[in-house]
């Protein structure tokens, strides 16, 4: 069971993948992972490429099923939830930021940030106001009507941050959010992300290769040999 302050808890999570399409022994990725994330705190997961960091994030966010173990999110066991419940949970309580900002290219920056609120059931006007407010917070008030291909990498990532935070979620899952940015933009995005996370009291689960970025989190876990250990 979850403690009252916890928003996410992983208990004895195991995950393996098939080696090839033709079979063969499965490759174990995660082994007996225990992890918890409390409100208004941040954790970073570091590790080598292929160590299973992203798999761990996807299992935590209910995007992937684990082979065994339990994942609790806001006192609900994720694996027991149906599609609609999971959608609702993602809409109201989770925000995602990826390495590539993954904006919807048919839509403007404003619409990209507006859509999560509309999915959450807000009216078009309410969603628009919230999106404008959020984009102003991330300094994108002059780029409201620009589409993805009219924005720079750093600007796209700022829009992605605004989109992740617009519904005031409990947890932000960020997978290498600065991975594709130059040093200056990466630093700007890092600062923005941490200031907003603190400001909105959101929990953050950050996957990164960048150790200095990871160090800004409350706890840093290192994923090694299929297990997590608190980094010294």
């Amino acid at each position: 069971m979850m403690k009252s302050a916890e928003v996410l808890r992983l208990e004895q999570v195991f995950k393996s993948f098939r080696a090839t399409l033709r079979g063969g022994p499965p490759i174990q990725i995660l082994e007996g992972i225990d992890l918890s994330l409390e409100r208004s705190t941040s954790i970073a997961i570091t590790g080598n490429s292929g160590s299973g960091k992203s798999t761990l994030l996807q299992i935590s966010a209910g995007l992937m099923q684990c082979d065994s173990g339990r994942v609790w999110f806001e006192e609900q066991e994720i694996s027991a939830l149906g599609d609609d419940k999971l959608s609702q949970l993602r809409s109201h309580s989770m925000g995602f930021i990826f390495q590539n900002s993954l904006l919807l290219d048919d839509f403007t920056a404003l619409e990209n940030v507006q859509i999560p609120s509309m999915i959450a059931g807000k009216s078009e006007k309410q969603a628009k106001n919230l999106a404008m407010e959020m984009l102003t917070t991330v300094g994108m008030q002059d780029r409201l009507h620009h589409t993805s291909d009219q924005l720079s990498g750093g600007e796209r990532q700022r829009v992605a941050i605004a989109r992740a935070l617009v519904n005031n979620p409990s947890v932000i899952f960020a997978d290498e959010p600065t991975g594709s940015l130059d040093e200056q933009n990466a630093s700007l995005v890092e600062d923005l992300l941490f200031s907003l996370v603190q400001q909105q009291q959101v929990a953050l689960m950050l996957i990164t290769h960048n150790y200095s970025f990871a160090q800004r989190c409350d706890v840093v876990y290192h994923l090694h040999d299929r297990k997590v250990e608190v980094s010294s």
């Binding site: 992203s54 859509i115 509309m118 999915i119 589409t147």
Partner: protein, 390 residues
């Protein structure tokens, strides 16, 4: 239902505020479906109108809508929907000109026979002005005149076949008519009813030809039969022709429906294409919390809007083409192109609403089913597939 989100997704998929490629794709599919539907509607209208045109020729010039086989004088106008009654005699004769001969159906009719309704089915030449000759006059078709190589005012001989004797009767070609359909008029000769009665001396077949309004043929026929009259309808008198027309019409409708089914299936290709191209967007929307249901509905509505608009435009376009076809057909008919000689080209265009409804409903129905089927793949797109992790 998150109506604003749904509306935004559909609007963007339809190309409003979207990039050029998305607009082009929607317009291309809209145009393609519109053209197919317009071709189907046009073809069906053409075939049905031609069939009806041929049927009208047979009914109005050949036998009337109904034939009441009696020689007694009867007032048929009290019966429902009867608009014209003519006492007619008919028999068969050999017609001779100096260069050719032919077996013809000789039809004796009264002065009022070529009413406005029947005259609309014919084009007539300038009638022969009576000379000193008191020979009986007959009306030939241009087709028959061409076969016999005679003109207005020429003399022909009718060899009347009766039980007692075979005797020739000289006649003058009083005028030439053209029904526009050679199958019918190639052997149909009109004469005066009194002349026919005199020549055949009661050996001819005498009956009343009735024209009835609209679709009341069966009702009037029932009423007449109920009163003990021997009644036949034009399709019974011309069974082979009527059956062929009916079969052709049904066969063509079947082909149109088959094409509509293929078109309906093609429409599902549009939804497949949209989903395939939007895999990442669908995954992203799912990741943001949109349900598969709302995503499927937005794609379904997009494709259905394209389909319904195309069907409507295609139907209107096909009807507009068909309704403006008469002048073109008339001008082709007037040129007497030999290779088109046996086709009816001069006919009024009718709108077969039921056939059009069947074709469009089948198309829409098949597209609904196939699009719903193809959109099952939306459920298979996992939200995780939008992200490219390390």
């Amino acid at each position: 239902m998150k109506q604003p989100l749904f509306a935004l997704l559909v609007k963007r998929k339809l190309g409003f505020g979207a990039n050029r490629a998305a607009k082009r794709r929607i317009l291309f599919n809209l145009l393609l479906i519109t053209l197919v539907v317009s071709a189907l509607v046009f073809a069906q209208m053409f075939v049905v109108s031609m069939s009806k045109g041929i049927a009208d020729k047979y009914a109005l010039l050949g036998n009337g809508h109904l034939q009441v086989h009696t020689t007694e004088p009867v007032d048929f106008f009290p019966y429902s929907n009867v608009i014209d009654v003519q006492k007619v005699g008919q028999s068969y004769a050999l017609i001779y000109s100096p260069s050719a001969n032919k077996m013809v159906r000789l039809k004796g009719v009264g002065d009022s026979y070529f009413s406005e309704l029947r005259s609309e089915q014919l084009t007539m030449g300038e009638p022969y002005v009576q000379s000193e000759s008191n020979l009986p006059q007959i009306l030939l078709s241009t087709t028959l005149a061409s076969t016999l190589d005679v003109q207005i005012g020429d003399r022909v001989a009718l060899m009347l076949v009766s039980q007692s004797s075979i005797r020739p009767q000289l006649c003058i070609v009083q005028n030439l008519y053209d029904s526009g359909y050679q199958e019918l008029d190639a052997n149909l000769v009109f004469s005066d009813y009194e002349l026919m009665a005199r020549l055949f001396q009661g050996k001819e077949e005498t009956y009343y030809e009735l024209l009835v309004e609209g679709d009341a043929l069966e009702q009037t026929k029932r009423e007449l039969k109920a009163d003990g009259y021997a009644v036949t309808s034009w399709d019974e008198e011309n069974y082979a022709v009527a059956t062929n027309l009916n079969t052709s019409r049904q066969a063509v409708l079947g082909v149109m429906v088959a094409v509509a089914i293929l078109c309906g299936y093609f429409i599902s290709e549009l939804s497949r294409e949209l989903v395939e191209d939007d895999k990442y967007k669908i995954a992203m929307l799912t990741l943001l919390g949109a349900t598969k249901r709302i995503i499927r509905r937005s794609y379904f509505s997009t494709v259905m809007v394209v389909t319904l608009v195309s069907v409507l435009l295609g139907t209107l376009l096909g009807m507009a083409f068909a309704l403006n076809l008469s002048p073109l057909l008339s001008s082709i008919a007037a040129r007497s192109i030999p290779s088109l000689a046996y086709y009816l080209l001069d006919f009024s265009i009718v709108i077969p609403w039921l056939d059009i409804l069947i074709i469009t409903l089948v198309l829409v129905g098949v597209s609904v089913i196939s699009v719903l089927f193809s959109l099952r793949r939306v459920a298979m797109i996992e939200p995780i597939s939008c992200a490219h992790f390390d």
